[in-house]
């Protein structure tokens, strides 16, 4: 390490960093957050000649995570390491001391057992930490400084700087300089970071809700894996278990979505009968939100039931039981609404007594409320259609048999107004109920596709003023072409295409900021087909979920059309059948 004692005594000026942050933040994605954190940490590392730097976020009701680690001038923390999920516990170790006292700390040797007889909090914790983390980040280190960054009295972030053993230990002066930085700039910069993170999270939640709204509007089943994603991204939980009620009103079946780190599973629990004071009940026997801990009566009961339940694979059974067994503390929020037992969300943590962090943030709470309304809509449609189906069969057949029975055995009764009017009344009532049951049903309509695309693009142009979006028609007649579709189907298709395009252009702009994003949508009519060619000037990028293309293909198939993707240059062709005049 190259040590410059003079510089280490100066106060840190972050003026130029603060000027650059808004420019870095323009992307509004996780990569912007990474870049800002890297610059902050690099500034501090250089100033106090540290070898390793770390930034930890610990907002209540949000993700508790190590967001950035730099070692020897290089980013050390990688996305796939997943350290934030179950290894970092802000209530323990030296960070725990900082969090509980609200003051920064200087430790000359983190591996030294204190003479006073007080236990070394790091050594108490080291055995539970990730081996790689201890090996790379802790083992070579002797002295550290940990700074709290506060919002009012709440510590929502800590910054930790370390020097290798053999180097000069941090001085009190170093700590004072860093304290001064933390006081002057810490909250400002970290608030900015949290703001961008929240914006990214809000975008995710908004996309999930929109997607769900479209599925419900198209009478398609909700994608429950997507629906639970915001709970995994916007909470401090590292285990999320969501029960969704499924089947008819009288069934006791649930869809369990179990998420633990990188893996999410959807497990159908049929005949999963609820206990007397179950959280799955909506009878006032439980007061929400419920807090609980490791293998309490509730979790033990769940494990016991799932262990014996028929109809689940052993692999799924073990996964669900392991998730429940790993939970050390949890908070349950209901999805129940208007007397409907729609399900519950269990936010769990591998950390004991972690309740204050597990309670939902106001935004996640709003998401949950909207999810509840969507689920209720879905249930209402299900019940209504069930209603219609039962009127169809056995309702009409039953009535038909009754009429036939009277006609055969006592035909004179049909001439009696009391009987004939009653039968007519029943027939009328059944027909009315049958039709009402079909009321909330998806219908396609004739859509002028060119007008539709133009109306879809207009708000996008406002949202992405930096892009050039061109709609090109083969000839004037093309604008008159109509197709049979619904708004939701077209939105699903074009929203997916547009998201991919934004990613492709951003990937290119990260390499070359001078590039102006351009999207060309060419529309032409070929015989009885409308061809839409969607092309941008982006480059290939890392696939996010892999769900987009199957969704586009599925919708195109439902519309009787098809989709073709060409790789060089990358472009998508959509073929819609024209509607008959």
């Amino acid at each position: 390490m190259f040590y410059t004692p003079d510089r280490a005594n100066d106060s840190i000026s972050a003026e130029s960093l603060i000027e650059r942050i808004p420019i870095i933040a323009l992307g509004g994605e996780d990569s912007s957050v990474d870049l800002i954190l890297y610059e902050v940490l690099e500034l501090l590392i250089k100033h106090v000649n540290a070898d390793i730097g770390q930034i930890n976020l610990l907002p209540k009701g949000g993700r508790i995570e190590k967001v950035c680690i730099i070692k020897d001038g290089e980013p050390w923390l990688k996305k796939e390491m997943d350290l934030h999920l179950h290894k970092f516990d802000p209530s323990r170790g030296f960070t725990g001391l900082v969090v509980s006292t609200g003051k920064s700390i200087l430790v000359k040797d983190i591996w030294l057992q204190k003479d006073t007889g007080e236990p070394n909090p790091f050594l108490q914790l080291a055995a539970t930490m990730s081996k790689k983390y201890v090996e790379d980040i802790k083992k070579p280190v002797a002295s550290i400084i940990i700074l709290p960054i506060k919002r009012g009295n709440e510590i929502f972030c800590t910054i930790e700087l370390s020097r290798y053993r053999g180097e000069q230990v941090f001085s009190q002066k170093n700590k004072e300089i860093l304290d001064d930085f933390a006081k002057r700039y810490g909250p400002l910069i970290m608030n900015y970071v949290i703001d961008i993170k929240n914006r990214t999270a809000v975008n995710i939640a908004q996309k999930r809700l929109l997607n769900m709204a479209r599925l419900i509007a198209s009478n398609k089943p909700v994608d429950y894996r997507l629906a639970v994603e915001p709970y995994t991204k916007l909470s401090a939980a590292d285990i999320v278990m969501v029960f969704f009620k499924t089947g008819s009103m009288y069934d006791s079946s649930y869809r369990l979505l179990a998420w633990a780190g990188e893996e999410v599973r959807e497990i159908l629990l049929t005949k999963f009968f609820r206990s007397k004071n179950s959280i799955l009940r909506y009878d006032g026997s439980t007061v929400f939100p419920v807090q609980g801990e490791e293998m309490d009566e509730r979790l033990s009961r769940f494990c016991g039931k799932i262990g014996k339940l028929d109809g689940i694979s052993d692999d799924d059974r073990q996964f669900a039981i392991k998730c429940f067994s790993d939970i050390k503390s949890y908070v349950v929020t209901p999805l129940h609404m208007l007397g409907q037992e729609l399900g519950v969300v269990i936010l769990g943590s591998r950390r004991p007594k972690f309740w204050q962090f597990l309670h939902m943030s106001p935004f996640l709470s709003s998401y949950s409320s909207l999810l509840k309304s969507f689920l209720l809509n879905e249930r209402a449609i299900y019940y209504l259609s069930d209603f219609s189906l039962k009127i169809h069969n056995p309702g009409f057949y039953c009535l038909g048999a009754l009429k036939a029975g009277i006609a055969k055995s006592a035909p004179q009764l049909l001439n009696e107004p009391q009987i004939s009017e009653a039968i007519k009344g029943l027939d009328k009532l059944f027909t009315e109920l049958h039709d009402q049951g079909k009321a909330l049903r998806w219908h396609d309509k004739k859509i002028h596709i060119v007008n539709w695309i133009q109306a879809y693009i207009n708000p996008k142009t406002a949202q992405f003023p930096q892009y050039k979006i061109n709609v090109i028609l083969e000839d004037e007649k093309t604008s008159e072409v109509t197709i049979m579709a619904s708004d939701e189907q077209l939105e699903t298709i074009f929203e997916n295409l547009f998201s991919n395009t934004v990613r492709a252009i951003t990937a290119r702009q990260v390499k070359d900021y001078s590039i102006i994003g351009e999207i060309n949508i060419c529309i032409k009519k070929k015989d009885e087909t409308v061809e839409i060619n969607f092309k941008d000037n982006g480059i290939s990028y890392e696939t996010v979920s892999g769900r987009g293309s199957p969704q586009i293909s599925g919708e195109m198939q439902d519309l009787g059309g098809s989709v073709k993707i060409e790789k060089k240059p990358y472009q998508t062709f959509l073929y819609f059948p024209c509607s008959s005049e």
Binding site: N219, P221, S385, H392, F396, Y397, A401, K403, A404, R441
Partner: protein, 160 residues
Amino acid sequence: MKAKVLFFDDIFSDLFRNKFPADQLAWDDNWVSSLTEAFKMAESSTGVSFEIVNCGEIDSWNEVIDKEKPDIILLDLFWPEQAVEKYGDRLRATDVSLEVLPKIREAFPALPVICHTAKPDRELMEKAYEKGATFFVEKVSMSLAEVQVPFVYIVINLLR
């Protein structure tokens, strides 16, 4: 004259019959009996002898038609349990039959297909004709052979 009628209806499928209790299936069976009886009743007056083949396996339409070689098909349009199995969505009950109909029409262009369902609507009628129905008629739910007989005369008309 002899004629074979292949009757595709969800009420003959195992999926349907395994789901509902016997007392409910009785209403459907009564209705099928009344229709079968109507065909028999019409034999003496029309001189056409009908053989009725009931089938609930709509996905095996090709094999069944190849095997039975019917002169006419009666196709019920409403298949809710099959829609749950196929699309995970009961609301798409008519999509099951409307998806098969054009395939039948393409494979057997000359084979008459009568589509029927209880309480249909205009949209469904239009779609059925668009996808290849020869005739579209409302299913009369009254399980009385005398009431079903006129349906037999539609069949005869299409067989001529």
